[in-house]
C-alpha cells in the first residue's frame, strides 16, 4: 500500500512484466481525507434515502410491506407445492383474483400460489405433470389467449428455467434479507427502480417500436405467500388506471388457429392424465375479464373453441367465471384483474364450487357466509347497475 497516487507510468501491471513471477501489487491510495468524506457520504445518502422514502410513500403511494415477487420467491413456493394438498398455477389473473385467506377460511387449506405474471399456465401444468412428488389438487387458472397461444413459458421463463439455481443458499438468504428490508422500506419496489423510471420519459419517440412507456407498470401489491392484490392506485380512477388499461392494448392479437388449439389440448390431456395417474387431480379455472377485453378474447379464441373444447376433452373439471352467478359484474379496474375486494368475492364463489367438484376440498362447518357482488362493488355503482 502506498499513500498518495503514483505518478503516471509508475504503476506497473503484469502486462509490463512478461515471463516472471509477479510481485505483490502496489495499491496507491489517493491523498484525500477519506474518513471525513466517507462520513459525509454516509450522512448525505441517508438524507437522500429518507427523502426518497418520503416521496415513495406520499407521492407514489408505495407502502412498506409490499413485498416484491421474484423468481426466488417463486422457487420457494414451487418447492412448497411438492407436498401441498392444493397448489395454484396460472398467469396473473388467478394470481390477483385468488384470496388465499378466504380460500383457507372456507376449506381449512391454504393453497400454495405458484402462478407467475405473464406466464402460460399450460407450461406450469406440464411442470407439475413431470414432477413425481406432486400428488395434490392442482388448480390451473387461465387467460385463454396465453393458454392456447403460441408463446412458450412467457414472462416466468427465468423463474421456471432457473428453478434449481434459485433455491441455492445464496439466493435464499438474499430473499430473506430482501423481504425483511421491504417490511420497513417502501421505496424497495422493482417497478420504481432507477432504470425503470428513466426510460419512461420516452413516450413513443421512435415509430414501430414499443417504448418502455407502453409497458405494464406497477398494478399489484404483494403480501406474504405471494398473495397478489390490485394496487390501490389502479383501483382509483386516474392517470395510472388509464395507463394500465392502455398498456393491455385491448388484448388485440390475431385469431388462434384451431390446429394450435388442438395441439394445446392434446398436451393438456397428457399432462392431466399423468397427474391423475399418480393420485393427483386438476381443475381448471377461468377468472373474469372486463367486456372491453373479453370481446377481443372471444374474437381470438371463442369460448366454444377453447374452454368448452378443452373441458370436453381433458379428464378434468373446470369453473368458468361466466358460470358463477355470484361472480358477475365484479369490479375489474384495469379490465384484466379484479379489484382487491372483488378478488375475495370471486374466490368465495369459485372455492364453493370447487368443494362441489372435488372431494379433496370440503367446506368447513364454520365457513363464513357466502359473499355477493354487493360486498365489493361500490354501492352507487351497484345501484346504478340494478336500475339499468
Amino acid at each position: 500500500m502506498r499513500e498518495g497516487a503514483l505518478p503516471a507510468g509508475l504503476r506497473q501491471t503484469a502486462a509490463n512484466r512478461p515471463g516472471q513471477a509477479q510481485p505483490v501489487p502496489t495499491r496507491d491510495i489517493p491523498l484525500q481525507p477519506w474518513a471525513r468524506m466517507g462520513a459525509v457520504v454516509f450522512v448525505l445518502v441517508a438524507l437522500l434515502l429518507s427523502l426518497w422514502e418520503y416521496e415513495a410513500r406520499t407521492r407514489i403511494g408505495l407502502r412498506a410491506g409490499d413485498i416484491d415477487d421474484s423468481p426466488q420467491a417463486w422457487a420457494e413456493a414451487r418447492r412448497a407445492a411438492d407436498s401441498a394438498p392444493v397448489a395454484i398455477v396460472g398467469d396473473s389473473r388467478i394470481l390477483f383474483d385468488t384470496d388465499q385467506a378466504r380460500f383457507q377460511a372456507l376449506t381449512g387449506i391454504r393453497p400454495v400460489q405458484v402462478s407467475f405474471v405473464g406466464t402460460n399456465s399450460r407450461t406450469l401444468l406440464e411442470n407439475f405433470a413431470n414432477d413425481p412428488k406432486f400428488h395434490g389438487l392442482l388448480i390451473v387458472g387461465m387467460a385463454d389467449l396465453i393458454y392456447f397461444g403460441p408463446r412458450g413459458v412467457g414472462v416466468g421463463a427465468p423463474a421456471v428455467h432457473d428453478y434449481v439455481r434459485n433455491g441455492k443458499p445464496s439466493q435464499l438468504t438474499g430473499l430473506w434479507i430482501d423481504r425483511w428490508l421491504q417490511n420497513y422500506l417502501a421505496f424497495m419496489d422493482s417497478d420504481y427502480r432507477l432504470s425503470k423510471m428513466v426510460p419512461k420519459l420516452d413516450h413513443g419517440w421512435r415509430k414501430g417500436v414499443d417504448s418502455p412507456y407502453e409497458d405494464v407498470w406497477k398494478i399489484s401489491e404483494t403480501f406474504p405467500g405471494r398473495q397478489y392484490f390490485m394496487w390501490g392506485r389502479i383501483e382509483a380512477p386516474g392517470y395510472l388506471q388509464a395507463h394500465a388499461r392502455h398498456a393491455w392494448n385491448g388484448f388485440k392479437a390475431p385469431p388462434i388457429p384451431p390446429s394450435l388449439v388442438n395441439k394445446v389440448i392434446v398436451r393438456s390431456v397428457e399432462a392431466v392424465r399423468r397427474i391423475r395417474a399418480r393420485g393427483g387431480d386438476v381443475i381448471f379455472v377461468r377468472p373474469p375479464s372486463a367486456p372491453q377485453l373479453r370481446v377481443n378474447e372471444e374474437h381470438e379464441i371463442p369460448r366454444t373453441l377453447g374452454w368448452d373444447h378443452l373441458l370436453a376433452t381433458v379428464p378434468a373439471k373446470g369453473i368458468h367465471a361466466d358460470d358463477l352467478p355470484q361472480a358477475q359484474n365484479l369490479v375489474i379496474p384495469e379490465w384484466s384483474h379484479l379489484s382487491h375486494k372483488c378478488a375475495t368475492v370471486f374466490t368465495d364463489a369459485y372455492v364453493r364450487r370447487l368443494t362441489e367438484l372435488t372431494p379433496r376440498l370440503k367446506l368447513r362447518a364454520d365457513a363464513p357466509p357466502p359473499l355477493t357482488r354487493l360486498d365489493c362493488v361500490p354501492q352507487q355503482i351497484a345501484m346504478a347497475g340494478k336500475k339499468a
Binding site: A8, A14, A21, V24, P30, W34, A35, L194, P212
Partner: protein, 473 residues
C-alpha cells in the same frame, strides 16, 4: 455469492468484524478468512467446494514433491500431474458437453450415427479462474520463478481468498501469499478508499451494466422474430461493449475494494481498455491478469517471438484461439479469440512495415476509434449464442439486412449511446493516467458528491442480484 447481493453485504460486514476483532491472532484470522471464503463459494453450490479442495491439495503436494525431486523427469512428472488434474477437472465440467457434441457431429459427418447419453453437468462457478490461479503456482515452481509457499494455510487461503475466487483478477501466488505472512489491516484511508471502489464497482455493474445497457442488448440479441437494421445492430453491439466492460471491470473494481478494506492489495485488471490504440495495447488494458497469464504460460512456452516470424504468428493465433475457448465451450468464443489473434497479427505486420510511424493527436484518436470499432465486431461473436445469430447482427451492422425492423426504443437507445460515448471518452482521456491520480487532483467536495450519487443510484436501482457475465466462464 455475488458482490451485488444483500447476502454479500451481511457476509462482508461479518468478515470485517471478525478481521478487525482484537481477540483473534493473525493465524486465527487467516483461518476465519478461509472459512468465510469457503462459505462464499459454497453459497452457490456446496458440493463444488470439493473441487476447490482437490485443486488445493493436489497443487500443494505437486509443488512440494517438485522441490524435493532430484531428477528433472520427476519434477516434470509432478508438474504434469498438476496440469492434468486441473485441466482434467476444467475439461470435464466445462468442455465435456462441447467435446461430446463435436464428436457426435464429426462422427455423423462420416456416416456414424451416435446418440450419447445426455451431458447434464452443472458448471462450477469460477472454475476457469481458480484453475488458472492454482496452475500458476505449480508452473511458477516448475519454471523456478518462485519457491513453494511456506505454509499450507497461506497457500490454501491464496486459492480460496474470496475477493478473487470466482471471477478474478487471476492472482499469482507470488502476488498474494507473501501478504498472508504478516498481519494485515487497512488504515482508515485504505478502508474508505476501498469502500469507494466497492461503490464504483457496484455502480458499474448494478446501474450501468444491468440497469441501462443489458435491456438494450437483449432487445436485439435475444429476439428472433425480427431482423435488426444497421442502427439497432450497432447500438446493441456498442451497448454490449459497455455492458461487458462495466460488468467485468465492475467486478474487478469491487474485488479490489473489498480486498483493500481487509488490508490486502490486488492487481489492476483493467486500464481504460477502450482508450487503447491498437490491439496489443488493448490486451495490455483488458483483463490484464488473464492476458498476462496466457502470455506467460502459453504464448512464451509456445515459442513467443523468439523463433522467427512464422512461429510468432502461430503462437499468437494459438494463444488467442485457446484464450477464446477459455471464455466458453462454444465455437463462437473460438472465433472471437481468432479474430483478436488476426488483429494482433495484422498489427504486428503493420508495425514492422511502418516502423517509423508516430501518430499525432488526431491520428491517435482515429486509431483508438478504429480499435474500438474493430473490437466491437468481435463482441458480436462473444454475445451471440450461435453463428446464425452473429450473422444476423453482422448483416444488420453492414446495412444489408432485408426488411429490418426497429427494435430499440428511442429513450433507451439515447441513454445507451450516451453511456458508451462517455465510457469511450473517459477511457481515451485517461489512457495515460490512473484513477487514483485523477481522484487525487480532484477536490474532495466533488469526490464526496460523486460518491454520494453513485451510492444513492446503486440503492435506488436496487438490482436484481443478477450474476456477473464472467461467472459463467
Amino acid at each position: 455469492m455475488i458482490f451485488n447481493s444483500l447476502t454479500f453485504l451481511v457476509f462482508f460486514a461479518i468478515v470485517l468484524a471478525l478481521h478487525y476483532a482484537p481477540f483473534f491472532s493473525w493465524h486465527q484470522k487467516k483461518i476465519n478468512l478461509m472459512i468465510a471464503s469457503y462459505l462464499f463459494y459454497a453459497a452457490w453450490n456446496p458440493p463444488f467446494v470439493i473441487l476447490l479442495w482437490v485443486s488445493t491439495v493436489v497443487d500443494w503436494w505437486a509443488a512440494q514433491w517438485m522441490v524435493r525431486a532430484r531428477r528433472e523427469r520427476t519434477r516434470k512428472l509432478w508438474m504434469l500431474t498438476s496440469v492434468c488434474v486441473n485441466l482434467g477437472m476444467l475439461g470435464y465440467f466445462k468442455y465435456g458437453g462441447f467435446l461430446m457434441q463435436n464428436f457426435v457431429a464429426v462422427a455423423a459427418s462420416i456416416g456414424i450415427v451416435y446418440h450419447p447419453p445426455g451431458w447434464d453437468i452443472v458448471l462450477p462457478v469460477g472454475i476457469s479462474f481458480y484453475t488458472f490461479a492454482t496452475l500458476s503456482y505449480t508452473l511458477d515452481v516448475y519454471l523456478r520463478r518462485s519457491a513453494p509457499a511456506g505454509s499450507f494455510l497461506n497457500y490454501a487461503l491464496f486459492v480460496t481468498f474470496f475477493p478473487h475466487l470466482v471471477a478474478g483478477p487471476i492472482m499469482r501466488p507470488t502476488e498474494l501469499v507473501p501478504q498472508f505472512e504478516e498481519p494485515r489491516r487497512a488504515n482508515p484511508n485504505q478502508m474508505f478508499f476501498g469502500l469507494a471502489l466497492l461503490t464504483l464497482g457496484l455502480f458499474q455493474k448494478v446501474v450501468v451494466a444491468d440497469g441501462f445497457l443489458a435491456p438494450v442488448v437483449e432487445a436485439v440479441y435475444d429476439q428472433h422474430d425480427k431482423v435488426p437494421g444497421m442502427l439497432d445492430s450497432w447500438v446493441a453491439t456498442l451497448a454490449f461493449a459497455g455492458q461487458i466492460f462495466c460488468d467485468f471491470a465492475g467486478y474487478s473494481t469491487s474485488a479490489i475494494g473489498v480486498a483493500l478494506c481487509l488490508g490486502f492489495a490486488m492487481p489492476d485488471n483493467f486500464r481504460f481498455p477502450y482508450g487503447a490504440v491498437g490491439f496489443s495495447d488493448f490486451w495490455r488494458r483488458w483483463h490484464i491478469t488473464l492476458s498476462s497469464w496466457l502470455r506467460d504460460y502459453l504464448y512464451i512456452p509456445l515459442g513467443g517471438n523468439r523463433h522467427g516470424q512464422a512461429r510468432t504468428y502461430a503462437a499468437l493465433m494459438g494463444t488467442m484461439l485457446l484464450g477464446g475457448l477459455w471464455h466458453g465451450a462454444n465455437w463462437t468464443f473460438v472465433v472471437w479469440g481468432g479474430l483478436h489473434g488476426l488483429y494482433l497479427s495484422a498489427e504486428r505486420w503493420l508495425k514492422a512495415r511502418f516502423k517509423g510511424f508516430t501518430p499525432g493527436r488526431a491520428s491517435l484518436i482515429a486509431l483508438a476509434l478504429l480499435t474500438f470499432l474493430l473490437v466491437n465486431i468481435t463482441w458480436v461473436f462473444f454475445r451471440a449464442k450461435t453463428f446464425a445469430d452473429a450473422g444476423v447482427i453482422l448483416t444488420g451492422m453492414s446495412g444489408l439486412a432485408a426488411k429490418p425492423s426497429p427494435l430499440i426504443a428511442a429513450g433507451p437507445m439515447i441513454i445507451a449511446v450516451a453511456i458508451v460515448t462517455a465510457i469511450f471518452g473517459t477511457h481515451l482521456a485517461m489512457r495515460n493516467t490512473t484513477l487514483e491520480a485523477v481522484i487525487e487532483r480532484t477536490p474532495s467536495v466533488a469526490i464526496a458528491g460523486i460518491w454520494t450519487m453513485l451510492l444513492f443510484a446503486v440503492i435506488v436501482e436496487q438490482g436484481q442480484g443478477s450474476a456477473f457475465i464472467y461467472f459463467a466462464f
